[in-house]
Symmetry: C2
Subunit: 360 residues, 2 copies
């Protein structure tokens, strides 16, 4: 079966070389006649996988292992919505509300303490990012969502929040765009967009801050310190998902690192946004301001619902999958994560031009 053109929002497309390495490791990991799914997580060969993934992630981000720890845990980013305030919300926390996932993070934090929603674009159905945000200044932390998968907005620059620790859910643009990672005290990202398969979250945490500020009277599995001290092996971790993340990080390095990946992502996104901008009455970009447009998730609507259905059906016939918008907003969405090949994006852009000509 030839590969589909995969525009799913997540779980999403992975590099073919990573799929092949995983396929091989499923039958035999490390040449000892045991699958990657059958090996003890205490085996030296797997410990090496974890350690290399940690080192590779830090190296891609330009962070030092003295300052930051990288851990891999299960439960999804949704569990992080709870773990962040459990560990760090003492008095109050600032949250910026930029979409459905940011809203969920706020909802979970409110169960555990005082939340200041310092800015929100809810009134315009999250079609833009809030500007000129005034942070509390004395919060325990500021929480942002760098890319809003459903609405198609993305923070292109990292906010300046002074001395307050900055925490970000980077699930849907982690290692897809260059950031000033040093600005962040905690980054979390569900793997299933740019990093690997679902079932594991990558967390990057500033160690000294964690030691100084994290609450201690918590369930072991819900304390970041447990996983940092255990080097991601406190309990049996999601072995195969971590293996795949490790291979994907090596693929990023082989492709030229984050700057090369970002340059390609900008090129890919431009191909689609150019079609949208060439026919703005037909392809109605869902994001109000061009500077807020996501490199990862490109969203638009068509003049009539029937046309949207037709678009999806005809695209599917050309093996372009996952182009329907999220059920909560409708319209169309093309997710063009790191591993989405240029060829798939070119095909989509070409199809959009043809579809415009036939249906305008």
């Amino acid at each position: 079966m030839p590969r589909a053109h995969n525009f799913f929002a997540g779980p999403a497309v992975l590099p073919v070389s990573v799929l092949e390495e995983t396929r091989d490791a499923v039958m035999d990991f490390s040449n000892i006649g045991v699958s990657i799914m059958e090996i003890s997580h205490r085996d030296k060969a797997f410990e090496k996988v974890v350690q290399e993934a940690q080192a590779d992630a830090l190296s891609i981000m330009g962070l030092s292992a003295d300052e930051y720890a990288v851990i891999f845990i299960g439960g999804g980013a949704s569990l992080q919505f709870a773990m962040v305030p459990m560990n760090f919300l003492q008095k109050k926390a600032d949250y910026v509300n930029t979409g459905e996932w940011a809203s969920k993070a706020i909802k979970e934090a409110k169960l555990l303490g005082e939340v200041v929603e310092v800015a929100s674009s809810k009134s315009t159905n999250f079609n833009q990012l809030p500007k000129n945000i005034k942070y509390s200044g004395d919060a325990d932390y500021v929480h942002i969502t760098t890319n809003n998968t459903i609405f198609g907005t993305e923070w292109k620059t990292d906010p300046d929040v002074g001395n307050v620790p900055l925490i970000a859910d980077m699930s849907s643009d982690m290692l897809g765009i260059r950031r000033d990672f040093k600005k962040y005290s905690l980054i979390y990202a569900g793997a299933q967009k740019n990093l690997g398969p679902s079932g594991v979250v990558m967390i990057v945490i500033k160690k000294a801050w964690m030691e100084a500020k994290a609450k201690q009277n918590l369930s072991s599995m819900l304390k970041y310190k447990t996983h940092v001290d255990g080097n991601s092996l406190y309990n049996t971790p999601p072995v195969l998902p971590i293996f795949v993340v490790g291979r994907t990080l090596k693929w990023i390095i082989k492709e030229g690192g984050l700057d090369a990946i970002q340059a390609r992502n900008q090129k890919k996104a431009k191909l689609i946004y150019d079609v949208i901008d060439a026919h703005p009455e037909f392809y109605r970009g869902a994001v109000a301001n061009k500077e807020d447009r996501s490199l990862m998730n490109i969203t638009w609507t068509l003049p009539k619902p029937e046309l949207e259905e037709k678009f999806v059906t005809e695209a599917k016939a050309k093996k372009m999958l996952g182009l329907k918008g999220h059920r909560s907003v409708g319209g169309m969405r093309a997710s063009v994560y790191n591993a989405c090949p240029m060829e798939s994006v070119e095909l989509l852009a070409k199809f959009m031009e043809e579809f415009y000509k036939t249906n305008k």
Copy 2:
């Protein structure tokens, strides 16, 4: 590379047919040119995987979907140590302490409420199961650990705890032994022994009890109700691990179901225990009472540490892996889970006889 003889305690051996199905799905799931790691968890083909896994699990256990729900979540059994008391510990809970994992479950429960340790075999380093246990009678629940992976003991019959809800960590013997599953209100099992790879826990829960008794003011991801209501798709679940569990459940059914699996497990365990019992001065069974011996994890020591090292090295040369006991107790351990082939166990028994003759 030929298959090793895999005696790891977990992650552990899986059926070859399941590995092959996983290998194929890693390259192409459901014939649409998309990997099982690349498909949306909302895709109908994956929803079918979840639903079939739920139905197959209930059918193997002889439970009804009206009464019980099956959910698959991340975080490992260690997260369940916290979730159980978070959801159900109101006043006090009874715990039976039969080993390291039971002790950890107790430690986590104590962070959240009153725990009555109704019985413990700690004083004999967990080399037997407590007998004639007196339960409180008015606890919110009784918690047991049906199989103690490290020490090699296993509950062969299900305790009678009257009207008090019974909760069990069945991580290391789930679907390896016939139980009266109807006696249980909540069962949880990390998949990486009998059910699949690490990264997912299977939970079987009595719905009416959960609706009546579970606390509501909890973080969404830590509430069983969230996952039951969302049918295991509240957030992005560990897609590939669930797929593998689904295939393993179908393998159990194909092999003849739980009774056939249990009969084979009894035969396999007997092969090793017979060698131990034939040479009790040399192979010193670590479990005090024969009736407590685990079908899953067989533990013994040798007269001298040098002999144990020699045993491991020579076994490894014959491609028998994972025979070293847990670092906390030492000695030897052979884990012979459902998917461990009879051929591997026969080879181990034969090797043990030879090793005895050469080294007695």
